[in-house]
Structure formats: structure tokens, C-alpha cells
Symmetry: C2
Subunit: 138 residues, 2 copies
Amino acid sequence: MPDTIIERLRAGGKKLTKARKALLEILVQSALPMTAAELHVRLRNAKKPMDLVTVYRNLAMLHQLGLVTAVGLHDGQIRYEVRHGRAHHHHIQCRGCGKIVDLMLCPMKKLTSLIEAQTKFAVESHTLEFFGWCPQCR
Amino acid sequence: MPDTIIERLRAGGKKLTKARKALLEILVQSALPMTAAELHVRLRNAKKPMDLVTVYRNLAMLHQLGLVTAVGLHDGQIRYEVRHGRAHHHHIQCRGCGKIVDLMLCPMKKLTSLIEAQTKFAVESHTLEFFGWCPQCR
DNA sequence: CTCTATGCAAATAATTTGCAAGCAC
DNA sequence: GTGCTTGCAAATTATTTGCATAGAG
């Protein structure tokens, strides 16, 4: 778990509790974005049970500090993944089995300024997700 | 309300009830994607009240027929907009007031084939949403 | 007349809030 | 010790399901 995450927690006035450390460890090791419920189960399996409510609160806090990214795939659940130390990227999810795969590309850079000129919005972030059928499901 | 929407309803074995017609009229006239709750209120205001449950069922049905598109902006609600007769596009939403603006652009065409080659997925659709601050809120 | 559509009640699922006790610093 | 954290219970919000009646074709 990179030191900077802990530093940025502290910079935000947050404490590194045992529970929080366990959650961060799982999240850092996960290659793919996870839901609160998934984290809840993984914490229980790791013998570090944490109330689901606390998982939600920690994810919201980490999101506010900008340490995790919220990923909204269209199954009605919000997933989170650690942002620190990872290149900005997007995902593709299989319509059949729900599998998620990282896409290490993002063509949005140039578009952002175009959109800012067009709408006068100050663009802060974007989401880009693909949906389709994985090799096993098609 | 374009005839083709009604034709495609019928082609799907669906009936054009008064309630459904009122819902479609509001949805067609709306420039921006709407939630089930918003539609419920608008129908009530238009003196064509429809149970919220029925709104959900109609939106799900229209989505299955491919007549509406689901837009997932990150505030925990699904919005729908009529797809028929509109160019494929995306949205930007203000972090402050929640305002949504259409973006008439989509740079995904070339990317799709790149992603299909990279992941072996058959890409079916994608979502692309921007978030930022509108002129009034920044 | 047949089958879909609707309303109402109730059930789920995801997420949030209130409050008292616990732990990090 | 002081204030952020956590767990537990309960409340909210979004959405879905069951069932009997109403309406379209």
C-alpha cells in the first residue's frame, strides 16, 4: 500500500485505523473496481470484518479525498477503485457474465477543451464505459 | 410523436394505451433525459397521472425495444431519453446544480475496433458522460 | 374475447443517517 | 483527553414483484 495514500489520508485529517488499513489493502490489491458489498465480504474473509455501513462511509470519504474513483457500470451498483499510482483508464463489461476488463486508453484529453469551449462548463471529470460480449459469452 | 415509435411498439407486440401515449409524448418533447420520478410528476401535471410503478415498467419496456437510451449520471438514478430520430450523443452534468447539457459529439467509432482487437469483446454500446461546473456554478 | 397494461400493496436492494461507545493520535 | 471512527438499528431512496382488475386490438 503506497505511503502516499496514508499521507493523503492524514493530510485530510483522517486516521489510519486497523479497519481502514485492511480495507485499503484489499482495494489496492484488487485489479478491478469493487462494490461496497464485495469489499464487505472480502474483509470478512480476511478475518477483518467491517460493518457494511462503515465500508460505505470509508468509500465515500476516500472518494471525497480523490483517492478512489467511482465506476458506474449499468447494473445499479457503484464500484470503486484506487486511483493513486494508476494511470487514468476506463472499463469494458460483458453483457453476459458481467466480467470487467481494464482499458488502458483514454481519448478524452482533446475533447475536454472542445467541450469547455462549446458549453462553458469547467470540465472536472468524465466516465467512459463500454459494454459488450466477452469471448466466452458471445 | 414519430409514427415509427408507435410502429415499433406494435412490432414488439405492445399496445398504445392512453397512459403510454402520454408518457411517450412527454419523453419525446423532453430535450434531456428524465428519471422515472420526473416523468411521474410531469404526467401528474399533465392531468394524465400514471402510477410510478407503471412508469418504471414502461421505461424498462421501451429500453428493451431499443426506443429509449439509459443515461447513468452519477447521482444514483437512471435517466431515459428517446433514441429514435436523435443523433447518438452524450451529456455533461454540473457538479453544483445538476444541470444536464447535451453534447452532440461522439469520438468512439474508431476506438471501438481498437478495443475489440485488444480485448476480444464484441462491443455493443458505450457510455460517455462528463462532469464539471456550469457557468452559473463555478 | 384474449392478452397486455395498470394500480395498489408489499417486497427488495442499495445507500444514508442518528447515536452512543471505541480507538487513533 | 479530544475528535474522528465504528457498529447497530432504523430510515431513505430507487426499483421490482404479485395479483386482481381494466382496457386495447
